[in-house]
Subunit: 108 residues, 2 copies
C-alpha cells in the first residue's frame, strides 16, 4: 500500500522524534537536550517567533509536556509539544494565505 | 526561509484539514461527513485496522473530539484526532522497524 501525503507526514514527524530520542540515554524518550536540538533543527519558524530562542522557553515547554515528571518525554508526552507546534503553524498558514490574497489583490 | 521536512509535514496536515473543512458549512471546521471523508482519503492504514471502517467508529471519534458539543470540529479539537492518528502510526512505525530487522537477520 502506498502512503498518502498525510501518512508520509505523520511518519516524517515520528521518524524525527526517534532520530533525536536515540541520541543519548533511553532511545525511546527525549531528554531536555534532545528536545532542544529537535526544535532548533526542525522547526526554526516556531523557534524564531515570540522570543522562543530564549533558553528558558524550551525548558518550560519540556516541563509542561513531562506529565509524569520523570525528566524524559515519551512519545505520548511529545503529543503535547506537537499540539503547540500545530497551533503555531496553523496561525502561520492563515497568515500566509492572507498575505497571498492581499498580494493578489494589491491590498498593500 | 526554506521549510524543513518536519515543517512541510505540519503544513501538509494543516492543509488537508482545511481542504476538507472547506467542503460544506463553516469553512474553518469539520462536520462529521467531512471528517469521514478526510480519514477515508488520507489515512487508509488507520482506517483499515481494528475494524475502524465500521460506520460507528468515526462517529464515536467525532463525538470524543467535539469537546464543546457544537457538532463541528474546530482545529483545536482536531488535535485530539491527530493524537489518535499519531499514536497509531507510531505503533505501525515500530512494527515496520521490527519486520525490517527480522527480515535482515532471517528471523522468520
Amino acid at each position: 500500500m502506498t502512503d498518502t501525503p498525510v501518512e508520509e507526514s505523520l511518519f516524517q514527524i515520528i521518524h524525527s522524534y526517534h532520530q533525536y530520542a536515540a541520541r543519548e540515554g533511553d532511545v525511546e524518550t527525549l531528554s531536555l537536550e534532545e528536545l532542544k536540538a529537535l526544535l532548533r533543527d526542525n522547526v526554526p519558524r516556531f523557534m524564531e517567533s515570540l522570543g522562543r530562542e530564549k533558553p528558558y522557553f524550551v525548558t518550560e515547554l519540556f516541563r509542561a509536556a513531562d506529565k509524569d515528571k520523570d525528566n524524559q518525554i515519551c512519545f505520548d508526552e511529545f503529543l503535547y509539544v506537537l499540539g503547540q507546534l500545530l497551533r503555531d503553524y496553523h496561525l502561520q498558514y492563515h497568515r500566509q494565505l492572507c498575505a497571498h490574497y492581499c498580494a493578489q489583490h494589491s491590498l498593500y
